[in-house]
């Protein structure tokens, strides 16, 4: 007996899926991503015991829990974190965003920056390093760096600050040498000074009560989180982020995410280095 034919995705099916996925996530696949998309779609068609793309798509489209869509998003996105990921946003912070914020600061008032989700700490530590190395006014202001995640285990890892080669591969060598030591088993341990410069806290961004204490931030980095939420949770999270920011505060999303597709609460600010979102001043 012949083994079952491998599933294929037709051009029309690809387009149908592409439109749907774009609407749900803001991620648009060009034609040159066909192989990448098809491979992952077929993997999920098989894993969910569907016989055809058509059957799988019906399940994906109407599944109330949205679990399969989440699975697919996980597969379709590069779900990894590393130091200096999407560095242009850090550059934007030190070259443009902070200069925009400073005129609104009262004397002695700290600059508050929030990284959520912090995951294992690469993003908040990158922020700390970037500020120390590339913001000339860093010593003239108090800066509070808060890093939050829903996962307490990942927070413990973040506080520990120990990383493998993959995590630090985008760091310039002189910064690696300056802020890390190498452990006996070849890992990279971030300095205690940096570890002690960040508040790590556990929070669920969609929990209104937990979120009440997160206020008065000048900048929030919330990258590659909202795409994993369903429509309702995304809306709740957007409200929570709005509440967390000071008027005029900024929010950086992942490169494939768009706040404008979620809510009109924020306005778009175009800086030379990046396009980010701002809570209106009034």
């Amino acid at each position: 007996m012949n083994s079952p034919a491998a599933p294929t995705i037709s051009e029309e099916e690809f387009q149908k899926f592409r439109d749907f996925f774009y609407r749900k996530t803001g991620i648009y696949f060009e034609e040159n991503k066909r192989y990448f998309v098809d491979k992952r779609l077929i993997e999920r068609i098989k894993a969910t015991d569907n016989e055809t793309f058509r059957n799988y798509f019906v399940m994906l489209r109407f599944e109330t829990s949205g679990k399969e869509l989440q699975q697919l998003i996980n597969l379709m996105t590069v779900n990894e974190t590393y130091f200096f990921r999407e560095e242009y946003q850090f550059t934007c912070l030190v070259k443009s965003v902070l200069a925009d914020i400073l005129p609104r600061k009262r004397c002695g008032e700290p600059i508050r920056i929030w990284s959520i989700p912090s995951s294992s700490g690469e993003e908040p530590y990158s922020l700390a390093i970037y500020l120390l190395e590339y913001w000339p006014q860093v010593n003239a202001y108090d800066i509070e760096l808060i890093a939050s995640d829903i996962d307490t285990e990942i927070l413990k890892k973040a506080r520990q600050g120990r990383y493998d080669q993959r995590s630090i591969s985008h760091l310039p060598a002189h910064l690696l040498h300056k802020h890390f030591t190498t452990t006996a088993n070849g890992a990279y341990q971030i300095s205690d000074d940096l570890r002690n410069s960040i508040d790590f806290t556990q929070v669920n961004i969609t929990d209104l009560n937990q979120m009440r204490i997160y206020r008065n931030f000048d900048v929030v980095f919330c990258r590659n989180l909202l795409i994993y939420f369903d429509d309702t949770s995304r809306r709740i999270a957007a409200e929570a982020l709005f509440n967390a920011l000071r008027p005029g505060g900024f929010i950086c999303l992942g490169h494939s995410e768009s706040m404008s597709r979620i809510t009109p609460l924020f306005k778009i600010r175009k800086f030379p280095e990046a396009i980010i979102y701002q809570k209106p001043l009034r």
């Binding site: 034919a5 491998a6 599933p7 294929t8 995705i9 037709s10 029309e12 099916e13 387009q15 149908k16 439109d19 749907f20 609407r23 068609i45 098989k46 569907n50 055809t52 793309f53 058509r54 019906v58 489209r61 109407f62 599944e63 109330t64 700290p110 700390a128 500020l131 120390l132 860093v138 010593n139 003239a140 202001y141 108090d142 509070e144 760096l145 808060i146 307490t152 927070l155 413990k156 506080r159 002690n196 410069s197 508040d199 790590f200 806290t201 556990q202 209104l208 009440r212 204490i213 997160y214 206020r215 429509d231 309702t232 809306r235 709740i236 409200e239 709005f242 509440n243 009109p264 609460l265």
Partner: protein, 213 residues
Amino acid sequence: MSLIKKSQDISPPVLEENRRTPRDRAGLLSQLENDAPDIRRWAALDLVEFPDTAEVLCAQLAQETQTPVREALLTTLIKIGNPIVVNRLIPLLRSEDAALRNLVIEALQQLPEAVAPHMKEMLRDPDADYRIFSINVLDNLKHPQAPAWLQEVVEKDDNINVCAAAVEVLAEVGSAEVIPALSTLPERFDNDPFMEFCVQTAIRRIQGNGNRI
């Protein structure tokens, strides 16, 4: 100066919350009428704890002009999501305010079980624009009956714009069963070239060519 750290523990809050006014039901309802948009917005968010205020929240949504307050009202109404919310939101699809209509469509899309009992009636409304807005709800409604409701539109509705809206959604959610109904649609509108194009596009999308595993 430079980087400073406040706490040493993961779990305790960074800041103590400081609310200026009590957040009881009566107080929040009163604040919903306050002149300051920010106070109305916070009242709208906090009233999520009182689902029995859904009717008042819907009435406020209908008259609210400030975008942040509208957004907060809608977030709370979606979270409450009971039949009262849906009963009160559906009539707002007749509003002349396009932004409000879009908010209502977004909310209804997220409440499939509560919307489902109303959908047939919505799709038979005498107002063609209202029927199109109802189809817009179906565009992103996670309900298994959606293709059947749209098929009925394609088979029975006599307005070309309503049918075109249904065809567009069916291109994504339709299966082979709707193809016969789609195929006869251009004839019903004197083989209108626009409708023919819509139907052909939809049929191509529905058919696909995916192999069986």
